[in-house]
């Protein structure tokens, strides 16, 4: 779901970049207060894993494909501030080294795929899971992951419409219907990742506190 250069109009990508910069500043300051020594290597290896997993497109009925975004699994483990910083690092490397996502659209991509999971997904996760570490926590992870992908895709559609790239109803319907399926993959992989870490080291789930 990485928007390339040229898909957004200048006012849209410029305001998204400004908004993203503000959010990144907030996230960095929050992260610097919350980060523990142990979390620095953890954010490194989890960022590396999310980047790698984003390369693995799985097929979706209808001739398209989707891949993990990973923002919700990061926010459950690292909390919203640190996970936002990690997601930005992933998008920056993708845009600079791999031409995946435009450099002008970096802010929009960070909002659509990063913040929709690390902030909105975190709010959904926290409000559903409560203090649970059992089934309810995993249901919360699935719903947060699914909603982050679906709402992120609708937001992407809106940005394309605001940019004059696509008509409103068709683009929102097309994005929303494909990503309703991709979101299921996001939910399942997020559950598996958190379950693995929670079984190995339950105290690592910073986002639970």
């Amino acid at each position: 779901m990485h928007l390339p250069d040229g898909s957004l109009s200048i006012p849209v990508w410029a305001s998204a970049d400004a908004l993203a910069l503000g959010a990144l500043t907030w996230a960095s300051s929050k992260a610097s207060k919350k980060l523990t020594d142990r979390q620095v290597p953890l954010m490194g290896v989890l960022g590396a894993f999310v980047f790698a997993a984003q390369m693995v497109n799985f097929p979706i009925p209808g001739g398209t494909s989707g891949h993990l975004i990973g923002a919700v699994l990061l926010t459950v483990i690292l909390g919203p501030g640190v996970s936002s910083v990690v997601m930005f690092c992933v998008f920056l490397v993708q845009a600079l080294l791999f031409q995946d996502g435009g450099i002008t659209a970096l802010g929009a991509n960070f909002i659509n795929m990063g913040l929709m999971g690390t902030i909105l997904g975190w709010v959904i996760f926290r409000s559903i899971s409560g203090k649970s570490t059992g089934l309810r926590m995993y249901i919360a992870i699935f719903l947060a992951a699914w909603c982050s992908v679906e709402l992120g895709s609708l937001l992407t559609g809106l940005e394309l419409w605001m940019s004059g790239t696509a008509p409103l109803v068709p683009v929102v319907v097309a994005m929303g219907s494909v990503h309703a399926l991709i979101g299921i993959g996001e939910g399942l992989i997020s559950i598996a990742a958190v379950r693995f870490l929670y079984a190995a080291r339950p105290e690592l789930l910073e986002g639970r506190r």
Binding site: G44, A48, F49, F51, M55, I60, G63, S65, V93, Q99
Partner: protein, 105 residues
Amino acid sequence: MKSLFLGILLLALAVGGGLSLLASEAPDGLEHTLTEMGADEHRSMIDSPMPDYEIPVIQNKWARKAIAGASGTLAVLGLTILVGWSLRRAHARSSMGDKSASQDS
């Protein structure tokens, strides 16, 4: 804890430099939508060393993808650790003398 972190990193390298070779070649949801809307003609503003997760100078079609994927995985590892370490240091400097501030809250 070290072995867990190393395990996650090895998994990431196996996914980025191995499993990713089996990824679906079908366009993703956004690419498909842009094609449907007739808006799929875009020129990147910058030239990247590994466009589309391939290293152009390597001939072997598996190696060009595997090495690109593994390099990107390590690049993200390095960048996030550097950023995380800088944030830790910045905070430690701003709250000097207040030892409890750097503790997990």
